[in-house]
C-alpha cells in the first residue's frame, strides 16, 4: 500500500492545503482525496507539480506502508 505524506510535507513547508491547491492548480477536493489516502493513482504531471511546489522528491511524497 502506498502512503502519501502530503500532510507531513505541508507542516514542514508551513503551507496550507488551500495555498498548495492554488499553487499547483489542483482542486481542493482532489488534494483532499490525495491527502486522505483515497486516491487510486496519481499522474506524473500532478506528482511533478506537487514536488516542485513542496520542493521535494517523489520519494519524500510517497512511501510504501
Amino acid at each position: 500500500m502506498i502512503k502519501v505524506n502530503l500532510d507531513l510535507l505541508l507542516v514542514q513547508r508551513k503551507k496550507t492545503l488551500t495555498e498548495l491547491s492554488e499553487e499547483v492548480g489542483i482542486t481542493l477536493a482532489n488534494l483532499s482525496v490525495l491527502k486522505t489516502g483515497k486516491a487510486r493513482a496519481i499522474r506524473f504531471s500532478t506528482l511533478e507539480a506537487l514536488c516542485k511546489a513542496l520542493d521535494c522528491t517523489p520519494g519524500d511524497l510517497l512511501e510504501v506502508a
Binding site: 489542483i26 488534494l31 482525496v33 483515497k38 487510486r40 493513482a41 500532478t46
Partner: protein, 202 residues
C-alpha cells in the same frame, strides 16, 4: 434538449404511468378477491377470466388425430367466482413482481436523467431488472398453468370434438433477454469501476 434526453424523458413518463397503473392493479386485485369470496356478487353475475390454454379440435369425436391444435389465450365466463378469485390472487403475485421490476427500471431512468449512468448503484438496479425479467419469464407460464388448471377444473367443457387443457408456454427468448440484461449489468459494473478509477486519479 438532445434526442437522447428527450427519449429518456419520454420513457420516464411512460414508466411513471405504468407504475401508477401497476399500483392500481395491485390494490384492485385483492379488493376484487374479497368481493368475490364474500358473496357480495349475485349468483347471476359472471366473471370473465382470461388464461393461456392448449386445445385440440377433432373433426369427428371418434378420431384420434386432431384437425387443429395449439395454444391460445382464451376467456371463460365463470359462474363459480371462487375459482376466479384464486386466479386473481395469482395475478396479484404477478403484479407485485411487475412492480418490483418497474421500480428498479424507473431508478435506472432517473439516474440516466441525473447524468450518473456509470455507477455501482446503476449496475445494481439493471441487474435487478434482469433478475425480475428472468423470474417473470419462469413464473408467468407457471401462473398461467395454475390459473388454467384451476379454471378448467371448475367448468364443464364437454364439447364433442374439442379438448381444452391448461398450457405451459415457456418463452426461451424471454429468458435469454433476462440473462442478457444481467450480463449487461456486469459490463456496467466494470464501467463503473473504471469511472471510479478515473475520478480517483489525481
Amino acid at each position: 434538449m438532445s434526442e437522447h434526453r428527450k427519449l429518456t424523458k419520454l420513457a420516464s413518463t411512460i414508466l411513471g404511468i405504468a407504475w401508477v397503473l401497476g399500483i392500481i392493479a395491485a390494490v384492485t386485485f385483492p379488493i376484487m378477491v374479497v368481493v368475490m369470496t364474500s358473496g357480495m356478487l349475485d349468483q347471476a353475475d359472471d366473471v370473465t377470466v382470461g388464461f393461456f390454454a392448449g386445445f385440440k379440435f377433432f373433426a369427428e369425436a371418434a378420431t384420434d388425430t386432431p384437425l387443429l391444435h395449439g395454444h391460445s389465450q382464451i376467456e371463460l365466463a365463470m359462474e363459480d367466482t371462487g375459482g376466479a378469485a384464486w386466479v386473481l390472487l395469482i395475478a396479484e403475485i404477478g403484479a407485485l413482481i411487475f412492480l418490483y421490476g418497474l421500480w428498479h427500471l424507473r431508478k435506472v431512468f432517473a439516474m440516466l436523467r441525473a447524468g450518473t449512468p456509470f455507477s455501482m448503484e446503476m449496475a445494481r438496479h439493471i441487474k435487478m431488472v434482469g433478475v425480475t425479467i428472468l423470474v417473470w419469464q419462469v413464473a408467468r407460464p407457471l401462473f398461467e398453468y395454475a390459473s388454467g388448471a384451476l379454471l378448467l377444473s371448475g367448468v364443464d367443457l364437454s364439447i364433442a370434438g374439442l379438448e381444452v387443457y391448461p398450457a405451459f408456454n415457456l418463452s426461451v427468448s424471454g429468458i435469454f433477454v433476462g440473462l442478457a440484461v444481467i450480463i449487461l449489468s456486469g459490463v456496467l459494473t466494470e464501467a463503473a469501476d473504471l469511472r471510479e478509477d478515473q475520478s480517483l486519479t489525481i
